[in-house]
Symmetry: C2
Subunit: 172 residues, 2 copies
């Protein structure tokens, strides 16, 4: 992907035909996301397009190569912390697309009024993702023992990662 | 409540008329749960009775004085970790009802095949709850900075707490 122009834009309903193969490939593998490995097209649509606050796609040469969602991590008094999920098609990995999406999502989150971003279940064996989130300024809040059932490795730990986006503390 | 016999039993649909005032009192106060403070009866029913795997009530002298739900904390490869929420009517607090429910829920979770229990957002100012979960063997996984918008205190930290219920590690 190096050097290629990519654009990030809001997903529309008609994009899901191109989003689903990316979702399906990652979710079927079952190594990084806690969605059921046999998640249907309809359920995936609900998860990725309906439940989130916003969903984006990344296009390169007019083709969708990656996608992310942004949503409140909790309701009510926890709704000022957002959560995102990022997926890059396997053929498009290694070119900095996930980093671009993460930066984009942080800007978007701030614009939407969120104050922090939380990842609830970063699989400890997903070292590429962990390294990236650290570079992006996320801190590891803690480690959940054996919280993820990896299809090859068995029960593995998962991390809770967090980044404060707006520092305007009521405590300071 | 000291000395009074209490029973814990599965909630049925007709119990919700007695559950809702307990839910409403706690959620309107907005100091411990991240549900919207104006959560409607219908939405509360969905949250407490429909979404969970199981819901229980605590009865004393034939009256419902407390309730809890039990559900998977994540889907798919995270569904072996459960999450619970406990609510005790204000007039019934201080008698060990929450502890009874927590013990009951751990037994129930094990019976249902869960391997661990996670609390995602224990409000740091809710010191009674934190002390109880610690006594119940929960460990603090980490502290989420200003993750809860307390209606009186402003943004306060929240804890992620976790207890392994089944220790049969694939790593050992």
């Amino acid at each position: 992907m190096q050097g290629e122009e990519v654009i990030i834009r809001k997903a529309v309903q008609g994009d899901f035909g191109a989003i689903y193969p990316i979702f399906e490939e990652i979710v079927r593998a079952g190594e990084t996301y806690p969605y059921a490995r046999d998640t249907s097209y309809e359920e995936a649509y609900r998860i990725w397009m309906e439940i989130p606050h916003e969903t984006f796609v990344v296009e390169a040469s007019g083709k969708i190569i990656a996608t992310y969602y942004l949503k409140p991590n909790q309701s009510g008094q926890g709704a000022h912390v957002c959560n995102c999920g990022y997926m890059v098609a396997s053929h498009a990995r290694g070119g900095g697309i996930a980093a671009k999406m993460c930066l984009h999502s942080q800007e978007r989150a701030i614009a939407l009024g969120y104050r922090a971003m939380q990842f609830n279940l970063v699989v400890s064996t997903n070292t590429t993702a962990i390294a990236l989130w650290k570079r992006m300024g996320f801190e590891t809040i803690g480690r959940l023992p054996e919280a993820f059932a990896h299809p090859i490795l068995g029960y593995v730990d998962a991390l809770v990662m967090y980044k404060v986006l707006i520092t305007c503390s009521t405590r300071s």
